[in-house]
Amino acid sequence: MSRFFRTQGDSDSSDSSDEEEELMSSGDEAAPSRPAAAAPQRKGMDSFLKKPGGGSDSSTSDDASDSDSSDDSDGAEDDGDQEPQQAVRIMSAAERRLVEMEATGKVMENALRINDWIAISNEFDKLVRMIQRQHNVSEPIPPFYIRTLISLENSVNNALAKEKEAKKKTNATNAKALTAMKQKIKKSVKEYETDVNKYNADPEAFEREYNALVVRDAPAVAGATPRATTAPGVEGESPDFTTVGPRGKAMQFSSEGILKNLQGVQEARGKKNTDRAEQIRILEKLLEVAVTSYQRIRVLLALVSSRFDYNSSVATHMPIELWLSAQREVDQLVAIVASNPAYSIQEIIEDYDELKERTPEDPDEKGGIVRIRGSIISFVDRLDDEFTKSLQNIDPHGTEYIDRLKDEKALYCTICRAQAFYENTNQDEPLGRVIMRRLEHIYSKPDAVVQALEAAVDASEIKPNMRLAGQGTTSGLIHALCVYLYKSGNSLLRTRAMLSHIYHHALHNDFHTARDMLLMSHLQESIHSADVATQILYNRTVVQLGLCAFRCGLIKESQATLLDIFTTQRVKELLAQGVHTQRFQVITPEQEKAEKQRQLPFHMHINTELLEAAFLVSSMLVEIPLLASIDSDELKRKAISKPFRRLLDFADRQVFTGPPESTRDHIMQASKALQDGEWEQCRDLIQSIKIWSLMPEAAAVKEMLAKRIQEQGLRTYLFTYAPHYSTLSLSLLSRTFSLPLRAVTSIVSKMIWNEELSASLDQSGGVVVFHRIELSRTQQLAQTIADKVGAMLEQNEKALDIKMGGTGGWGDRTDGNKGEKRGEQTQERRGRGERTRGTRGGARGRGARFAQGLGNEMGSRTG
């Protein structure tokens, strides 16, 4: 702060502290050049240094001394006095720091005299901070500090010794400050142990060394920066030198000095007081003047990173303009590196001299290749992440979102360019990552969008090998990308590629391929141990698979697949499309933040309402005939789809039902109509659901649903009304449900064959003959108990199987004929389980396990 006061006093121009800060920060950045400017006037500085020290003799506080000296300078300038001291003091920030230090030192000496340890302690802290700053700009430690340190150490020891002798007279706070002081000194001395030792050995030599250090830096830069000589004059002449500062600086960016400037910027990076915007501006200018490829690569690397640095907070997204320029610069970078194979950007390389200009012709470079530290892949990754983050933060219903979405094309091109670059240079590891990025942009998109993206890639000058034009179809492209990832060694990428591939198949209604791939990948066994992002992708894939089954008319498969996610009642959360609020659980802010970061951008969402409609309709088609077929209450409790059953019960309890409004209302009323055998009403209700319009090929889906409703209506009707008939004409059934006679016969036969319906067909009369036996209560109970005992034994066997563990099964180990048979049976069962996994049993188990897995994962992450 003190510096602020002073410089403000210095300049009577109206320039705000903004500019001030710029000057200061630029002083930090261009640190190496600073002392240089001061160097010619070393003598003057020395004399000057003494002066304020002497002047502030009487002052007690640092601030006072500051204002004192600034008053001094003001006066001097007003007089138009061209004292060399003046000029020196103004232009060198390093000096100013020194002056401050000296001032602090003085204050400490004074305090020491009156034995005021509190004041000393404060001042010392200040001094340490200053030294720290000095350190930050990588200037050598002034001998003054060391000297102070040593003298302080001595006096502290003395004071402590005195203390011991005369205990009574110490005041408590002072004593405390003294001990604290002792600790601090100890720490500092330790820190600068070598310097202190050197100083102790030969104070003068130390001082000489320091001076030499400062001087040596100077001429090195002096030649390179014309400002070093011109600046003092300019500033001396004009009173408003602060405005000249930036302009003057602009002049100093020549191609020769670039690397130095760059180093300055890089050293300031990540420090507390650096102005990021200013740094970006400097780098942009550096880029303009950069001549050689090497310089441009270096500047671009620094520029892109500083753009990414601009936002320090994790929560907010990068400003869009910055993002766009970063994206362009990454493009530029890739273009340079791709066109100059002699330059190579690598993450791990040997150290090299940052300040040296390097060319491929240089004999020092191995194999004629200049290796530069940096990582294009991480830029691409970051660019993509920032894009996602901005989409997460923009309101998806505004035009801004759409505008932002348009940038995806450019991003996609950048990714493809990076891919092309890595393909040409045969770098497998980053190539895998970049291909994964590319895949993530296209796997969930419809063909038209992918074609648009690919068209943009085709238009650019650097193209990867895998392109839509080469592969013919989007599926071909995705296949090519995925196959590359399958072959690469990274198992995470492999998993994600597999899931994306399955998702893509499901999106294109290729249910069987998608299902086979999912089953063959055995992902369901290991997914609960994967990271959250992959789990989300898995969930999305499974859900898309369910929707795909629905679109293909595979109602049972669809119901079984979607059941898992709906039983959890956390659909949105599991798909990362919204934060779930639990009723009895308060989410900590961190938890919420983590959740938010996981959210998918809106355009990737799977419409949950559509999903629910698909699930409830397929549940209806599966559940309603089932409900009709079971007559005892005992069995009724066994629900296939709990969420659906719950809704249905709720709808049943409703005293008054109005006309349906929501999708759920429609489906519930349709279910009731289906229960009553009113299939036409059911069909109309289902078909009038508006959300179907979001489904591709909506008309075909509706038609399919109508057909299914007819069939299931017939089944429900037969189940419900069988007890009231002894015979039923097939032609009547065919007319009632407007199904062809053959279809009716087929459905009825199937029910008879599967022993769902105790009836038989009379061919000559064209009727169904029902044989119904009323069971007495005792008989019913006997049957129930037999079932239960069987189930219990089954459970016990399973429990034992688990306990014994493993593949062998305990049955195999029991000897004798009986044992063998048992083994056979268990194996049989297991085998069946394996084979039918595709349809329902496995799917359910997998989902349950999985949903929990995610829960655990989140618990452990947040807890």
Partner: protein
């Protein structure tokens, strides 16, 4: 019907020599142009060491051209190689056939090798000569000779790769020389070695081996008298069923045919064979998108759609397909018989009153034949007591009394005791911490 011919799909999984009979069979059918098949045969034969056969084929295809000289050269070469290999192998054979040696040989291969080395100066390299000679013999068509040499080699050699190779070779030789019993034995050992293979090799190689085994075994299973049951046993085991589903769904035709052929399994058959049809139908449904032909379609129409007309239509086509199929050709009539039986069984189970004429039509039979068939059916099947023919109205009436409740209860609880005691044994074997539930179950059963 050419689109249902599987030769093209099966051939990639067969040995060159095993494919020859398939092509020869194609010559007899009219599915493809004779010339094309002959050219294929010629191309195939060119790669073998049977120059005479190839030359013969060549002159058949191009009667007006002269047989190329290369066959003559090849023939000379073959004879020379034969001579050389035979000499090498003979040395080993002389030793082995010595009765003293035969007696001294034990189970332990290492020991045998040591013994042979010590006493007769036989090394592993020399034994490998047996393998080479066997392979060579196979390549010019002397299959039984090849089988002999490969057998001897396998007894002596410790080289795993060559042993496996010899096993495949022996199987092929046995198949081609028509020794079905030996082939079946060979097949079993080969299957064991594939299944038990815990080699570090990827699962993919195992899948490949299994696919090959599936194809090769068709030769054995459709020629050995008990083959069909064994086929069901093997192909329906989980691993092989998975293999079929993953890499070669067309095998489903043979599986379906075998299941239909062994409709009424022998009393001792395992549950797997008895439930074969039920299992199979599930698989057929699942794989419908990948593969279907009249045989699988027949089963689907009959048991999934219960569309008897469509089933009958498919049966008609299946008959043709079977007639043209290399493996199933001779089972055509048998298949038809069994399929009819299945249709009528399904029909009778869902119907109460059946018009005989209608049923005969369903079965592709004339009314008279149909009546005879039905009477036979009723007589031999278990529904004999329930079905009555009413000649007056020309219908069959089937009365199926419902199963008494007590019977179902008894059926349900039948196995419980056995299974519970199984549980008990297992727990006591574990010797600790018996789960509470098991005891409970036991009580409940008693």
């Amino acid at each position: 019907m050419a689109e249902y011919d599987l030769t093209k799909r099966i051939m990639p999984y067969l040995d060159r020599h095993l494919s020859l009979p398939l092509l020869a069979h194609l010559c007899e059918t009219t599915l493809f142009a004779l010339e094309d098949v002959q050219i294929a045969q010629y191309e195939l034969a060119k790669g073998t060491n049977m120059p005479d056969y190839a030359a013969n084929l060549f002159s058949q295809i191009y009667p007006d051209q002269e047989v190329p000289q290369e066959f003559e050269e090849k023939r000379q070469n073959t004879l020379l190689t034969h001579q050389r290999l035979q000499d090498e192998a003979q040395a080993v054979l002389d030793v082995i056939e010595n009765p003293d040696v035969a007696q001294a040989l034990r189970q332990d291969k290492e020991q045998n090798l040591q013994y042979l080395k010590d006493n007769y100066n036989l090394t592993l390299d020399q034994i490998a000569a047996l393998y080479h000679f066997g392979q060579f013999q196979y390549s010019y068509g002397n299959y039984s000779g090849a089988a002999d040499y490969l057998y001897h080699f396998r007894v002596l050699s410790t080289d795993n790769d060559l042993n496996t190779s010899a096993q495949w070779g022996k199987l092929a030789s046995d198949i081609l020389s028509g020794k079905w019993d030996a082939a079946l034995q060979e097949l079993d050992t080969l299957r064991e070695s594939i299944d038990s293979r815990s080699l570090p090799g990827p699962a993919l190689t195992q899948l490949h081996s299994r696919t090959w085994l599936l194809h090769w075994s068709l030769f054995v299973y459709f020629n050995h008298p008990a083959g069909r049951t064994l086929l069901l046993e093997t192909f329906l085991s989980p691993v092989y069923l998975n293999t079929i589903q993953t890499s070669c769904p067309w095998i489903l035709r043979y599986l379906a045919a075998a299941a239909i052929l062994s409709r009424a399994p022998a009393p001792g058959a395992s549950t797997r064979v008895r439930n074969a049809l039920r299992e199979l139908i599930k698989v057929i449904q699942m794989e419908e998108y990948q593969y279907q032909d009249p045989v699988t379609a027949f089963l689907k129409e009959l048991y999934v759609e219960f569309d008897f007309e469509a089933a009958q239509r498919e049966l008609g086509r299946a008959e043709q397909v079977l007639g043209d199929d290399f493996f199933l050709g001779e089972f055509s009539a048998d298949f038809l018989d069994n399929a009819r039986y299945l249709i009528s069984e399904a029909y009778c189970r869902t119907h109460q009153k059946i018009d005989i004429r209608d049923l005969s039509e369903r079965l592709n039979l004339s009314p008279d034949e149909g009546e005879k068939w039905i009477v036979n059916l009723i007589r031999e099947s278990r529904m004999g007591a329930d079905a009555k023919i009413d000649l007056d109205k020309n219908v069959i009436e089937i009365f199926r009394p419902a199963v008494p409740v007590y019977q179902t209860v008894i059926d349900k609880t039948r196995g419980l005791h056995l299974r519970t005691s199984g549980l008990g044994t297992a727990i006591s074997r574990m010797g600790m911490g018996a789960p509470q539930g098991a005891a409970g179950a036991e009580v409940a059963v008693r």
